[in-house]
Symmetry: C2
Subunit: 373 residues, 2 copies
């Protein structure tokens, strides 16, 4: 373990990965607590990476909390949005690091949502072949999913997250208070990843989400705290067993195979990642039904909870000509595909997920149905 597990108050979840273990601290107000940042690898320089939406809200507050720990606190502000999850933007982090003559002890802090976290993590993995980094996620999606587990990446014009690294942070600090400033649409997008953990791992959690959707959308602090904690616990359990996605971990991609096709097909940023995943989960559940794993009532249940989260459930038409072929060709580029066969994450309705291929004809029916249903 990299540090004493001295909780700074609030909840704590451990990601157990041997010498790469770290903890997720979950509490309101962490951003303003200098003690939340103690015990990290010693360094004289810290570099905060954030975006132009988050910077006005939280950059100075994080800088103040880091000031007691570092001689110099630098920052770089990137343009906000999935469309900027590119090499060009990543290179601005390298330019900033090298321009300030940073060395390989420099600690990077990712302050923002999933895009900032993924890019900062990959920058940390690649800068001088690896410097430490800390995740300070400010969106629900990042707190419950992308900041945890060490997947880092940028997009390539031909596919999402195609270039990246498995590289674990030193710590994840989820300040629940930052969720108060989240736009409604981003909150819903984050709820997609919360919902995900139910059907793949914990049906009791799905029950809880359904019962508490009102409280979650109203950002009730206790409901948010539980949603973030339980999501992180499930993710920690899965990642602890399969850090580099050689098997089990792929179940965390429930809804993502269809979702990535939607994101790429619509152009990155048109749909939020969580929106595409929400719709993708409905499609993946529909496919599970066609493959005989769940009944139609379960499809309706997933559709209802996704809809209740404020997420789209009707799939977009990606090609006015041959829409099914367009979906299939985008999905064949998915990282889970092998030798051209798309591997889907399907669910059994009892809290278990399984990886499976499916005939193109059946997948095509699901796509066609989902674009009108």
């Amino acid at each position: 373990m990299r540090r004493d597990l001295s909780p700074v108050g609030g909840e704590q979840v451990i990601i157990d990965l041997g010498e790469r273990s770290y903890c997720i601290d979950i509490a309101a107000g962490l951003l303003d607590r200098a003690d939340a940042f103690s015990g990290l690898p010693s360094a004289s320089v810290a570099m905060i990476v954030t975006n132009d939406t988050v910077a006005p809200l939280y950059l100075e507050r994080l800088r103040s909390s880091l000031a007691p720990h570092y001689r110099t606190v630098l920052h770089v502000v990137l343009p906000d949005g999935e469309a900027f999850k590119t090499w060009e933007t990543l290179n601005r982090i390298f330019d900033a690091l090298l321009g300030a003559a940073c060395d390989r002890k420099t600690v990077l802090f990712a302050l923002g949502g999933g895009v900032v976290g993924d890019m900062t993590g990959f920058a940390a993995a690649a800068f001088m072949r690896g410097v430490p980094f800390v995740q300070v996620p400010t969106t629900l999606l990042a707190q419950v999913d992308s900041s945890v587990g060490g997947k880092t990446a940028i997009n390539h014009p031909l596919g999402k997250n195609m270039i990246g690294a498995f590289y674990q942070p030193q710590r994840v600090l989820c300040d629940l208070a930052t969720l108060d400033t989240l736009p409604e649409r981003e909150l819903s997008a984050g709820l997609a990843e919360v919902i995900k953990y139910g059907p793949i791992a914990d049906m009791a959690f799905l029950d809880w989400i359904e019962r508490n959707m009102g409280a979650l959308r109203a950002r009730d602090p206790r409901a948010m705290a539980h949603a973030v904690k339980r999501s992180c616990q499930i993710k920690a359990e899965v990642v602890g067993q399969d850090e580099r996605e050689s098997g089990l971990r792929a179940i965390l991609n429930f809804g993502h195979t269809f979702g990535h096709a939607i994101e790429a097909g619509m152009g990155y940023g048109a749909w939020l990642h969580g929106e595409a995943v929400g719709c993708g989960m409905v499609m993946a559940t529909r496919l599970s039904a066609r493959m005989g794993l769940v009944d139609n009532a379960f499809v309706e249940r997933i559709k209802a909870v996704v809809e209740a989260a404020g997420l789209p459930v009707r799939a977009p038409v990606l090609d006015e000509g041959d829409n099914v072929a367009r979906y299939l060709s985008l999905m064949r580029l998915d990282k889970k595909s092998e030798a051209g066969e798309i591997r889907f994450v399907l669910v059994d309705g009892g809290g278990k997920a399984l990886m499976q291929g499916a005939p193109d004809a059946v997948v095509g029916e699901v796509i066609a149905e989902s674009c009108v249903a």
Copy 2:
């Protein structure tokens, strides 16, 4: 270990890194032996990455040897030279992989020198967060140094190898016959890295190099075989103890701190990496003398063997104004620097290296002396 250690004839050196262990096969003619490529991770697609100098010589031969093992053997040919060790060139590998819908079982083969090996390795590390790769080094420098040990990288305008990963190959295949086509200048550049292993680790090897310099420059097969094998053995020993350069491994950078400044200051490609390292070793030995570690006779000895290898021993003037300041500022960007202090690899004259800082004034004297001596 990833495979049975069935030697395909010739010498074999093991890099012992637990589950990331692999072997280096060293023999003439390996490129044409399909059996040299058996036992690698199973895949249906292989992608050869090479450059426009090496492709006409060896691409078809490697392709023939891979053909029995893969359904499809793709290739991408990059422009030759350190000046192309950039993101733009790296991206051509990603474009080729994604354009051909390669999946994360695809095996990459680096066919060429250090630049091709470093870029292919980083591409393998980052593509879909990691695919297997094999080094098939065709230059002396790559066979004795860069293909072994898992350092991969590209350059940034502000520094050499600043963006990369520690990522181990599945195997290294050193076909000694490929050295026959190496231009004289490249052979000398490779000898710089061979010479390096003497002063940092094995004075008897330095004696051997001095005695056999004629045979080495004449590419005598037995001399080359020994030089490659002994170099790989020393590198294997060091890397086995410190894969990620947290300490010991840095001694392999003897001559590289000054050398990188020369390369960056002259513009990548003006001096070959090995030429800069050769000159850099003379400078580092001079600094060792000024720091009281070796006598002047040892400086002359290193200078003589570097010169005998056909390498430059006089340092270039990088700035007609303040040359020393230019060297120092370039060296401060070295990855070994910490908090602005340059860390040099010095030698003790008895086969040991040590990491140490040095006063700017003393370093400046070494630079000034080396530009005229």
